[in-house]
């Protein structure tokens, strides 16, 4: 076992030792069994039985994805936070309608997307932030040659600028597929439509994105 404390031991550094132990035990219960992470289905089952800690672990597991998805739609940090939080709360109260054994991620994402679209329609904050690229190289993967890296960076900035001009629904479908790497089957669940419709929506969104890109 490594000497560094596990991540779950750092959540409440100010707690009393006994409280820290209780906290660690609780988090261990909700994050692993026999050293392996609990799967979503198990956590869902525990949450449905009234285990708030299990649901908290699910939130922790998907909060980044939920927030980023909401941000793609709303492009407002505050609206994205509200939408994601509201979606998690609504999902909790809808857990008994969630089919046991079904994948949790697309089911949650459907609620997130609906919340985000509602807020976008309401236009409550309208910060109008745009998606943008980081300055550094994407994490992971093999580094491209310097020439390709420069070219990629330029292309990426152009593509992201074009994406920002698209409707939130086109932006969402592109983001779900390419940025968040959902399968078409998962997207069908999120968007509540057949897989064939997902394919055509994605195809149309890509066509519009290509049209929006400047010639070479």
């Amino acid at each position: 076992m490594a000497d560094t404390p596990p991540a779950y031991a750092r959540f409440h550094p100010a707690m009393e030792p006994a409280g820290v132990i209780r906290c660690i035990n609780s988090l261990r219960k909700h994050t692993s069994v026999g050293g392996r992470p609990l799967d979503d289905a198990r956590l869902c089952e525990q949450a449905r039985s009234g285990d708030v800690g299990a649901y908290e672990e699910l939130v922790r597991r998907y909060q980044r994805l939920a927030y980023r998805t909401a941000y793609v739609v709303t492009r407002s940090a505050a609206d994205a936070e509200d939408a994601a939080q509201e979606a998690f709360v609504k999902a909790y109260y809808a857990l008994d309608r969630f089919r046991p054994g079904a994948p949790f991620r697309p089911w949650l994402m459907r609620i997130v997307v609906n919340e985000a679209l509602n807020r976008k329609r309401a236009g409550s904050r309208q910060e109008g932030l745009a998606l943008r690229m980081t300055q550094g190289r994407p994490s992971g993967g093999v580094a491209p040659s310097p020439e390709v890296a420069v070219l990629d960076a330029e292309v990426s900035h152009v593509v992201i600028a074009a994406l920002n001009q698209m409707s939130e629904k086109d932006r969402l479908v592109v983001a779900l597929r390419y940025f968040f790497e959902l399968s078409e089957a998962e997207m069908a669940q999120v968007l509540e439509c057949p897989v064939g419709t997902v394919k055509s929506r994605l195809s149309r969104a890509l066509a519009r994105l290509k049209e929006a890109l400047p010639d070479e």
Binding site: V59, D96, P138, S139, G140, Y178, E181
Partner: protein
């Protein structure tokens, strides 16, 4: 990695790790606080027998105001009347903005509405009623609304251009209610039957209807309601709101297929 030019799809996929999203907030703590405060405990809901969960929810009549009850209703009040998804309270001076928003969720097709409700959506049939002008469904909870525009045969109800509003909902536990009806001193409630099922006809002075979702997100939203007939059968609670009387409401209820 190859130095060949990438397709748009490849470019998008390669961009995924390099988009500068704002740092996500710690939602886990906020969500935990909210669901811990909420009165609904999933464990109790899960343990509840399905037929019981489907068939019952609180219709609590708190006698802080003056109501006029039929003998049957008066008898039932003593033993807590129950209908799934709807709670009825009395209050001396209920108030809400006339014509307040109906808060009907999202417009959907009939097929989608059945998916939302988790059961077939019943429609009234009759010489004066065609298909609904619009169908709405809540995005999270199993609630569906059928909206009919006002017409000479369907006078507008409660300050809206709506002549008939039918709500169909599926409540899942005794703790859950979606609507709270606030009855004042001039509102009457009558115990009636629809196809053998106990029903309540609320009429007289307009009463107040509040969304009361378990999340608390819409608790304070209230509007003035027209006359309404509510009953539960087959696991679904039905509510008919209209400007007309019991005879008309009952005819609509009995025609629903």
């Amino acid at each position: 990695m190859s130095d060949r030019p990438r397709s748009l799809e490849d470019t998008l996929a390669a961009m995924s790790g390099a988009i500068a999203f704002p740092n996500e907030p710690d939602l886990a703590r906020a969500v935990r606080e909210r669901i811990s405060r909420a009165p609904v405990a999933p464990a109790r809901r899960r343990r509840m027998p399905m037929r019981f969960a489907v068939a019952a929810i609180a219709l609590s009549l708190v006698a802080s105001g003056i109501l006029v009850f039929s003998p049957g209703a008066r008898h039932a009040v003593a033993g807590w009347l129950r209908l799934p998804g709807i709670r009825i309270n009395t209050t001396p001076n209920p108030s809400a903005t006339p014509g307040g928003a109906l808060h009907l969720g999202r417009r959907v097709t009939l097929a989608r509405s059945a998916d939302r409700l988790g059961a077939p959506v019943k429609l009234p049939v009759g010489p004066h009623l065609g298909p609904p002008d619009a169908i709405y469904a809540d995005e999270t909870y199993p609630i569906v609304w059928l909206v009919y525009r006002s017409a000479p045969t369907l006078p507008a109800v409660a300050g809206h251009n709506v002549g008939l509003l039918i709500t169909e909902l599926h409540a899942r536990s005794l703790d859950q209610f979606f609507y709270k009806k606030m009855l004042g001193t001039g509102t009457e409630i009558k115990d009636v039957r629809i196809d053998g099922a106990r029903a309540y006809w609320i009429h007289g002075q307009p009463h107040i209807i509040q969304y009361h979702y378990p999340l608390g997100t819409r608790q304070e939203v209230g509007r003035v309601s027209g006359n309404s007939l509510i009953w539960a059968t087959g696991g679904i609670t039905y509510r008919i709101e209209l400007a007309g009387g019991l005879r008309e409401a009952r005819a609509i209820a009995l025609s629903m297929r």
